[in-house]
Symmetry: C2
Subunit: 119 residues, 2 copies
């Protein structure tokens, strides 16, 4: 049982689009990730997913609108909703999602991360 | 589907020890709460519970040690572990926990909040 400092965890890696596990709560993981550029359109059929911006600006593109998040703001993407995260400049994000969630959801490509690292 | 600004939600109320729901993700709620003073010793037999400090300093007393959290730090209290939050000065906290979680866990007293408000 140890406390976690989110920014200290984010200082431990530099790569983009590679979520790291920093906490485990019931059937969910708490993760941090650094994003820059465009991801891929995808959805999670069975899982809601939460993005909380720690530093920077993140746009979550939906088919119907764009959601722009600044530091201290979060958005919960309901299961089944197609979305694509986009970050013009690097953004640091806290994720909260079920352990079963694959980062690219229904899509499998070079961005898919199967085995997440715990840091 | 709307984004949530955590500090804006915290500006909507002043009372202590009264968690408000600000998001719903799978079988969990995201809540904010303002704490000051001592809570009660309690545990949650079936639910892990996460405290993330948004502003201020929070001590989570365990039977074995004290965990002191500053802004940007979180602690996950495993199910079954007795704990008591203590805040010398007002602290603003984000909580993640299953919808079934009662704020006072196995204890029922004047601090117990049965019906949480969504803000």
């Amino acid at each position: 049982m140890q406390k976690v400092n989110i920014k200290e965890k984010l200082s431990k890696f530099n790569e983009h689009w590679s979520p790291k596990i920093i906490g485990e709560i019931n059937d969910c993981y708490v993760k941090v990730v650094k994003l820059q550029g465009e991801f891929v359109w995808h959805k999670h059929d069975d899982e809601d997913e939460m993005f909380l911006v720690i530093k920077g600006t993140l746009t979550i593109k939906l088919r119907t609108e764009d959601i722009t998040l600044e530091e201290g703001e979060f958005f919960i993407i309901p299961k089944g909703i197609e979305h694509m995260p986009v970050a013009e400049n690097e953004v640091h994000v806290l994720l909260f999602e079920p352990k079963t969630t694959l980062n690219t959801g229904n899509v499998s490509n070079e961005r898919t991360v199967e085995a997440l690292e715990k840091i």
